[in-house]
Symmetry: D3
Amino acid sequence: MKRVVCFGEIMMRLNPKGYMRFIQAKAFEASYACAEANVAVSLANYGLDSAYVTKVPAHEIGQSAVNELRRYGVDTSGIVRGGKRLGIYFLEKGASQRASKVIYDREGSAIAQAEPGEFNWNKLLSNADWFHTTGITPAISDNVARLTIEAVKAAKKLGITVSCDLNYRSTLWSKDKAKEVMTEVCKYVDICITNQEQAVDVFGIQVANTNGTKNGLDYEGCVSAAKLLSEKFNFKKAAFTLRGSISASDNRLSGMIYDGDEAFFAPEYTAHIVDRVGGGDAFSAGIIFSLLKGYDNQRTVNFSVAASCLKHSVEHDFGLVSVAEVEALASGDTSGRVQR
Amino acid sequence: MKRVVCFGEIMMRLNPKGYMRFIQAKAFEASYACAEANVAVSLANYGLDSAYVTKVPAHEIGQSAVNELRRYGVDTSGIVRGGKRLGIYFLEKGASQRASKVIYDREGSAIAQAEPGEFNWNKLLSNADWFHTTGITPAISDNVARLTIEAVKAAKKLGITVSCDLNYRSTLWSKDKAKEVMTEVCKYVDICITNQEQAVDVFGIQVANTNGTKNGLDYEGCVSAAKLLSEKFNFKKAAFTLRGSISASDNRLSGMIYDGDEAFFAPEYTAHIVDRVGGGDAFSAGIIFSLLKGYDNQRTVNFSVAASCLKHSVEHDFGLVSVAEVEALASGDTSGRVQR
Amino acid sequence: MKRVVCFGEIMMRLNPKGYMRFIQAKAFEASYACAEANVAVSLANYGLDSAYVTKVPAHEIGQSAVNELRRYGVDTSGIVRGGKRLGIYFLEKGASQRASKVIYDREGSAIAQAEPGEFNWNKLLSNADWFHTTGITPAISDNVARLTIEAVKAAKKLGITVSCDLNYRSTLWSKDKAKEVMTEVCKYVDICITNQEQAVDVFGIQVANTNGTKNGLDYEGCVSAAKLLSEKFNFKKAAFTLRGSISASDNRLSGMIYDGDEAFFAPEYTAHIVDRVGGGDAFSAGIIFSLLKGYDNQRTVNFSVAASCLKHSVEHDFGLVSVAEVEALASGDTSGRVQR
Amino acid sequence: MKRVVCFGEIMMRLNPKGYMRFIQAKAFEASYACAEANVAVSLANYGLDSAYVTKVPAHEIGQSAVNELRRYGVDTSGIVRGGKRLGIYFLEKGASQRASKVIYDREGSAIAQAEPGEFNWNKLLSNADWFHTTGITPAISDNVARLTIEAVKAAKKLGITVSCDLNYRSTLWSKDKAKEVMTEVCKYVDICITNQEQAVDVFGIQVANTNGTKNGLDYEGCVSAAKLLSEKFNFKKAAFTLRGSISASDNRLSGMIYDGDEAFFAPEYTAHIVDRVGGGDAFSAGIIFSLLKGYDNQRTVNFSVAASCLKHSVEHDFGLVSVAEVEALASGDTSGRVQR
Amino acid sequence: MKRVVCFGEIMMRLNPKGYMRFIQAKAFEASYACAEANVAVSLANYGLDSAYVTKVPAHEIGQSAVNELRRYGVDTSGIVRGGKRLGIYFLEKGASQRASKVIYDREGSAIAQAEPGEFNWNKLLSNADWFHTTGITPAISDNVARLTIEAVKAAKKLGITVSCDLNYRSTLWSKDKAKEVMTEVCKYVDICITNQEQAVDVFGIQVANTNGTKNGLDYEGCVSAAKLLSEKFNFKKAAFTLRGSISASDNRLSGMIYDGDEAFFAPEYTAHIVDRVGGGDAFSAGIIFSLLKGYDNQRTVNFSVAASCLKHSVEHDFGLVSVAEVEALASGDTSGRVQR
Amino acid sequence: MKRVVCFGEIMMRLNPKGYMRFIQAKAFEASYACAEANVAVSLANYGLDSAYVTKVPAHEIGQSAVNELRRYGVDTSGIVRGGKRLGIYFLEKGASQRASKVIYDREGSAIAQAEPGEFNWNKLLSNADWFHTTGITPAISDNVARLTIEAVKAAKKLGITVSCDLNYRSTLWSKDKAKEVMTEVCKYVDICITNQEQAVDVFGIQVANTNGTKNGLDYEGCVSAAKLLSEKFNFKKAAFTLRGSISASDNRLSGMIYDGDEAFFAPEYTAHIVDRVGGGDAFSAGIIFSLLKGYDNQRTVNFSVAASCLKHSVEHDFGLVSVAEVEALASGDTSGRVQR
């Protein structure tokens, strides 16, 4: 069984029930999530040997985050205990023209204050076939930026495939800082996962027709951006999501994988959204799973976009859908007919 | 007041709240349902004298099933007590491209282990104007198949109209077994309710353009199938549902009634789905109610499809809509404007 | 800070959770609402000095209504205590073709039985810049009709701008009675808020192409009706909502403001509905806020329709959206993309 | 099977979840209850043929009250439809030293405005063996007082046993009015159910050591009061509850039956309270059931107090415990050990 | 109306429903609380003009805290907006021998990082009759310690009565630091509220028989400690709570007030606990209310302990009981009988 | 780290919320439990290497059971997949004199139909230090009885300590059958865990003063029974629970360990019960943990009874308390004071 190690934060997600706004909430659903953790859970769910590396405080709230990962089969033996708090993110679900809203309360988290020496990467990555992280992780703090670079370097040295989702978060760092750190990180990355907007935000990869914020999906722009990015960093593959936001309730979705030579696009789906968060992470997990399984590029992108599309119908961040469900959609059955 | 007797199982339905998946569920909503029970409740709700015949265990879970039928006005005096367990079905609601999922846990249920002698059909059917069952009931067990045949024979002898929804369930029996038993059952049936797919599954009634699994509704194919079926079994009428599954969230719906001579189609609706289960049963109840009321074929199918459409907006299996609400939709008001 | 005083009832709203029907409900969500109270909360939420005048019983249920207004920053110091009960309205949310349903249980409420002398309008309106009420308030009882006329007269005398939403409720009074009382009220009104249907119901303002109950929005008819109304009562401005009910789940929305000379229309939105109630009140609040801010007609109607559209995505009656959110939609961003 | 007809109101009960106070509540649990309805449900639950007579409005809230009675097996065919509203009572559960609190919102209810001619007592009481009502019913309105007297007269004429729980409610009528009406009602009563405090409130039956409001239970006073009452009205039996309120969480309970000659007391229980309301009604149902079953006085009072004690452990008003459970407690097993 | 200004933090409280442990929780009830805020709400609830001073972040979570205070009538106009986060405290309710558990997540809160200049005490305290804070506030950070000293000095200068609850929290500061800062704060305090254990923790006021952690309440020790404290700081009055923890479900409670001359004790109650937190704050509010009302010492301590006892029956931190309810208990009615 | 392997069933537990009775329930809380699984979770929670062996169906409900074990750190790699259903048990919580009630729906479960060959005991038990099962497991079916005997034989051969809780369930098998099978099982048992009642039920170990079903705890009888049992089977130790059921809400608890020579009793606790189920399993886990840690007999029984006592305050079956919490209670702190 292939082993994938993901590295990032794990936060408590607190969202009001249903479509209640923050200021109406008298209770919050609590789940545990973060971009890389979402990927780890998807991979465990697909049957891979999936491990997560992070740091959580040594109290019951920290333990609950670990438990949620264990529940879905993620190996949590590499999680360090200590520090003061678990980061929190408050999420208010949008609907129709009202956008979903995130309030981050993640400063001072256990991982943000972790020191470089706390993670023994050689040990953590032994037996691993793949290492995954995202641009959110080095953005957490200077310490974690250093940790991330340590990790990708170690992975590279061990001959492990490295993937990274650029995932720019303007609330965590500036574009200049992002560019500086991510340029260093990307030196060790084999598979880059991103979208046009992030390519612009992080590396200023501007192409003619970028209009990712509108309903129209910019297929050509994706290819151009992937080419520029891949040349710049010598990525083996670049995988892009395409998203057209019709409203907070309905999105058009597709994706592309570019192998330095040719671009492969998945079919386009219109997703009626149950939970918007984690769609990109489900795509990343699809890419990692497919490539580890040896799928060809077309099957890889088809699987990944189908997985991402299905994620939008699942509550909370984790992409809790089975390989069979993803394959069924990828093979063209969009009917959602009752399975008895 | 016309009296209708329905015969079948009654199960506990357990579904996670909202769109939670099974593996996320920490609680289940509990309701009580089964194809024929759903019909019985709709008919009681429409004001008919509706009775249900089944067997439930003599404990509180069995009593709760009886209570739910009583709550909606169904006569439960013919329900036998005994046996070991109440069948259960777990339902996970689908959304968008993710299908709804049913896990049956109904083996060994009280009704499945009922012995033929336990039901006194002559007494149970005295004063009845109509008897209804579905292809699910004889599929439960050999015993229940025998009971079903006893029942339709008794009904026929008493001059009671018999309706049957073919309702093939592949998890309960094979197509061969279904064909064998249903061929016997259908000898005593006056009104057959089904759709193209089931006609194929049970009786191999294949027509040229069957594409019921796709979005397109196959109007012509329905007429052909109804003709073949009606000729084969000498049904007085055959009523078909048509369903085009755009996704788990949206379905296109219509229906047809064929009187051996002419086919009548209802208008087509696009239903935004709150709860997918029970849509066909609401159609059956519409057919029975309309024919007992003496509606003509067009009004019958219009009422039945409108009832089925509205069912999709109601939580749980029961078609809890009023005659007035169905009539309003059948008469063309699809606006859903607030009624103050 | 501009001060607005709204006058009307405050009721307890009881709705089953989610899409449960009344007869399925084992619990109700409780909130507090009424047309004018909804406006008052929106205005407080937009940062105005917003006060509410009503009467509630001197027990904990009455106090809870006051508390809900205070929670959102409404000045409740002018609320009279006494009387026997708080009015209640039961709301069942519709979906798809199934309409939302309201059962009023408001007879004998504290405000309905209030005596004219109980409100000192000169004191209540001192320092106010704007007074708002709706056609629901005088419809509550003869006493309240007298109170309403007292109020608008006092406001007029104090030089306060008066707005009124015609808001005809057939369950509260006849069209004849409505016409008689509202004719008197409208003498003192500066800004009339309504739609085509209400203009017909209350004043018989019939124009050629009124088809507000269908999907199509009747833009021309609005202008004609606004002209006729404005001439009749010498309104400074008349603001109309336009609504096309595709189903209980989706509505098309627009609006118009007419200044006696020219009509200005907002862009049209298709709202996917979370909660249908309070959409008109959010429009009224938008009009009042915009005019107090000195927005021009186009910006006023754009803001008001955007506010109304967003309200449909918010649970319960109150239009709990921020000025920034409304402005974002009014300026064209309908994408509902996650805000981090 | 013995048939009992109960007559009274049926209200919606709205209580915040758990121990939330009214002013904290964002949702209410909805159930349906009233003193006589609670008795009717207990009797149906014990297997008697139990019918309820009342009037409810012809809308879904009224229907929901009927449905709840049907759910537990009560014959609702004698319920009249019409009138404007269903009475409501808000209940806040007390705990420890904080008392439970009831806010009545029952004015103008369908039954309160029922006219004497609306109930055909001879038909409603045909085949009945027992008629039960309480002092709350004639207190609802003058109309209902007349209806109650009509009912007990008709019952008497038909030779049906009549029981009445005095149940004085100071919020509904004065002591003088209660005395006047109840004196008339009690002429037709065979079995009087009450406690010392009510005997004082309604008929001024004062005895030396009445201290029912304290923890101590006044056994001797009960006997004296029962004697005086029975002599005054020639009751066949008088049954008294004894309650010592240690706190809102714990009560001491006992009961007595007096047959004009001798008094029989049940053992005393200390109930840890889950839901305080309906304890007296469970006692009444115990008395009616026991006497219809032909139990002797000692067994009657033991059964009734055990039923009342167990009711305090059941949520909402209805005494949903089985005969077997009551018998087990009455026979001395207070251990509450798990039954597997 | 007397005006009281309280100063402290306001946190979000997150507790699992019922008795669920942290590691079982899938949802949290959210409320807003802090020692001084609890006092402010009680005082507003008793009808005083109660204002709260704190700092909250300028986002919806901060606004929700403000809204909760407004809901219960607290003047929030003096609350400063800004900073990064709202402090959080996680609470797990204990039961029986299992203790309640608090996990603080309050570092880096808006108030903790407030700068001295941000609060204009002369303006905030103008028109105030009383200023209240606790030992938790200066423990938050050095900045807030400075702010607290500024505040009590300003209050003293303005001739406002100052009360302080010593409230030592070992997770916030050391005993040495507490002693140093509180010695400075207490120079300006008129009314000191505390218990024996805190008197030891903060000032080392050790007396012979201190056994506050056991079931037995140490009445004599309280008097000795109060005497020592009052002499040391020249307090006008010292009020002590006494608590005997039988288990997490049941506590024995009493209290004392000492006026420099004589000690007055309240009766002792055994509280069955619904929510343990806020009991001491309810006592403080009782003291402030009683003294502002001019109650004598005995009535003051009786009122305050009754208020504290009743708080234990109310969910969440706020002491939401009315003056009438407190007076009823203080006057001896511990029966918790239903109030209709 | 010591490794313990537990063998048994894993069922879905469905209980109505709070104190709702089965026939009131509209929803069930779902958890996963069984006597041996409860032990396994406690041991994992105490930090041991705890593994569970069972069989579950290969669908999402089966997976959910596995996930719940994983969540709390149990090694589930030895769980076999297949079979038709997961056993279910319905639990209704009792209160006061009303007993808790269990309805088993476990027939035909995956484990019940498992074949002996399906478990490779030598592999499953390799590296284990302890094997634990209970008398419930062989009672499930003849197949499982054979499997159990296979398991204890294999364990014995491997030199692993074997413990067994007699745990007689009359709904699963007769006393004669139990005696026959358990006599065989006990040949391989080192540590026997039971109580007086079970010792009678399974082996007819009758001693003079057995009165375990009453409030009084029979200390002497325990010693006699332990002696007889230990002599009969040559147990190394016999551990007994003592329980006095004051009511469903309050139980008196103690325990004993007998080493063939001397008996050691723990202090007695009165537990206010949050959830009654799993108390005995928590005791068993305490015994296993303590003996593996090398605690002496007194500390072992003290720890085990404290763990059992605390379990009664935790919702659902699992004994989710920490070693530190157990030690604190075992060392005498019963106060349940808030831990901040």
